[in-house]
């Protein structure tokens, strides 16, 4: 019977189902009918009743399961991947932003002799360097002003 599954018509299946309900099928024929109902997607009230009595699901619904499982897997994987990306991005932001940003929005970073400075040591080093820069710029401005004055005296008097 297996090799003829694909040529059984709906009416023939229904006829077999009637015979089953009338207890006119042998055990072997019942097993074959069970196999056919499992494999073929035919559906009618009579066929569905016999399937219910036999405790089997239709072939079509069985076939759907693997597909749904595949869709569920793709969605699951996509969701996991998206979550990982978002978590990674948020983690990067938190890691890079929080260590050097003060509560007033200022940013301070200091390294000395290969060691990152923090707290009061960091602020002290930054203040020293900034003071050197200010002194440098002030001195250069004074020199430039002095040069301009000398130039004016030499060429404009």
């Amino acid at each position: 019977m297996k090799e003829n599954d694909h040529i059984l018509a709906l009416s023939e299946i229904e006829e077999l189902c009637r015979l089953y309900l009338d207890c006119k099928l042998s055990r072997l024929e019942e097993a074959e009918l069970q196999y056919v109902l499992l494999k073929l997607p035919y559906s009618s009230p009579l066929i569905d009743d016999v399937r219910a009595l036999m405790g089997i699901q239709a072939a079509a619904s069985l076939k759907l399961k693997p597909k749904m499982h595949r869709k569920w897997n793709i969605r699951w994987i996509a969701g996991i991947a998206a979550s990982v990306v978002i978590l990674f991005a948020v983690g990067l932001r938190v890691a890079s932003g929080s260590d050097h940003e003060a509560t007033d929005g200022a940013v301070y970073i200091a390294y000395s002799n290969g060691v990152e400075l923090t707290g009061a040591q960091m602020m002290a080093q930054i203040e020293r360097d900034n003071a050197k820069v200010e002194a440098f710029m002030k001195r250069m401005d004074e020199i430039e002003a002095e040069e301009a004055r000398i130039y004016n005296e030499l060429f404009n008097d």
């Binding site: 996509a78 932001r93 390294y111 290969g114 990152e116 080093q125 440098f136």
Partner: protein
């Protein structure tokens, strides 16, 4: 395959956006490359960076390291070629050089001091935050 491409594109966009926002750095000043983090862990090097009240200052000081001192002076001289102003002051062992570069309508000052007796070189980049955006 399509889904993988979309996820990869999303990740690349997030990573690029994050890299862009790390610091307000203009990427074509040679002196700024000294503050990329590459020399933070070097011995004999002090690096400070502060962004406060609209002012952005970076300072790097190197002591007794001729190789790194040369890298700093080479970077300074590379930026000097595009300076709109230049000033130099020499006194004994001290040599101070100052250049100004205009960017985004703001002036960036880059200074280099060399003390040959102490074998110390300091380079700083100073300007408003707007100049570096």
């Amino acid at each position: 395959m399509r889904l993988f491409s979309i996820m990869l594109l999303l990740f690349a966009s997030i990573a690029a956006a994050h890299a862009e926002s790390l610091e307000p750095v203009s990427d074509n000043l040679a002196s700024e490359q000294l503050f990329s983090g590459k020399y933070n862990k070097e011995k004999g090097v002090t690096i400070t960076i502060s962004i406060r009240d609209g002012k952005y200052n970076r300072t790097m000081t190197v002591t007794k390291n001729p190789a790194l001192a040369k890298i700093m002076t080479d970077a300074f001289n590379a930026d000097r070629k595009r300076a709109s102003a230049f000033n130099q002051y020499i006194s004994g062992n001290d040599e101070w050089t100052n250049i100004e570069i205009t960017r985004n309508g703001e002036i960036i000052r880059i200074g280099l001091t060399e003390n040959k007796g102490k074998e110390e070189v300091m380079l700083f980049i100073n300007g408003s935050e707007k100049a570096f955006k």
